[in-house]
Amino acid sequence: MELHSDALRLDLPAANKYLNVLGACLNAFIERIEGIAEPRVTAYNIELAVNEIFANVVAHAYGDTPGGRVDMVVMLASDPRRLLIAIRDTGIAFDPTTVAEPDLEDVQINGYGLFLARSLMDDVTYTRCADGNTWQLIKHL
C-alpha cells in the first residue's frame, strides 16, 4: 500500500495489552471523517475487525515469541471513498483457509474472530511475504 501523506502509521508491540490503544486510535481517526452513515456503529465495527486481526497475529504469528511488533497503516482513499487498513507482522505464516467458519446454529467457544473481521469489513485479504504477513482490510464509507 502506497503511503499517503495523511496516512496514520502505528507501530505497536505484539501484545493484547495494546488492543485498547489500537481501538482508541482507530476511533479517533474515524471520528473526524465527515459524512459517515452511522458513525458510531461503523467505528465500532472497524475497531472490532482490526482488533480480531491484531489478536490473531499476537496468538498465531508470534505465539509465545516475545518482542514481536505489529505495524499498522490506516488511510482514507477516494473514488470510491474507503478506509484502507494494512496490518503487518514479521511472524510465522498463517493459513486462513485452515480456520473453519463458525457454525452459527451451534454456538462454540472459538472461531468467531476471522468470521467477525470478514463480516464487518468489505474485504479482508491475507498475503504471506518473504519477511512476514500482511492483512489488508477495506471498508467502504
Partner: protein, 113 residues
C-alpha cells in the same frame, strides 16, 4: 401442634456486570472470576452487558464457555443486552441471542430464572 414441613428453597443466581471493555487482554481475568464462581457451586448466571462498551471474540468465548459449563451442571446463563448498538448487532450477527436467553435489564433476566 400442627404438623408442618417447612423448608427454604433458595436458588442462587450470580449477577456479573462488567463496566469496561472486554477484549483478548482482560477476557482471561473475567474467565477466572467466572470459573471461581462455578467452582464455588454457582450454576445460574446473569451477565449484564449494559455497561460493556466493547466486546471482542475473546470475550464472547468466555460467555460461551460459561454457558457450556453451567448447562453441563444443570444451570444456565442469561445475558442483558449491551447498550452499545453495534455490540447488540454483533450479538445478533453471531446468533448469540438465539442461544442465550436475552433480557433488557438484570431484573427482567432474574424473572423466572
Amino acid at each position: 401442634m400442627m404438623d408442618l414441613n417447612i423448608s427454604d428453597h433458595i436458588v442462587r443466581t450470580v449477577v456479573v456486570a462488567p463496566r469496561q471493555r472486554i477484549d483478548a487482554f482482560n477476557a482471561p481475568e473475567l474467565r477466572a472470576a467466572l470459573d471461581q464462581q462455578l467452582e464455588s457451586g454457582a450454576r445460574r448466571f446473569v451477565l449484564d452487558l449494559t455497561n460493556v462498551p466493547f466486546l471482542d471474540s475473546a470475550g464472547m468465548a468466555v460467555l460461551v464457555r460459561l454457558l457450556k459449563r453451567s448447562r453441563d451442571q444443570g444451570g444456565d446463563v442469561r445475558l442483558v443486552w449491551p447498550t452499545e448498538e453495534a455490540a447488540r448487532r454483533i450479538i445478533k450477527l453471531t446468533k448469540f441471542d438465539r442461544v442465550f436467553t436475552m433480557a433488557d435489564t438484570t431484573e427482567a433476566a432474574l424473572v423466572g430464572f
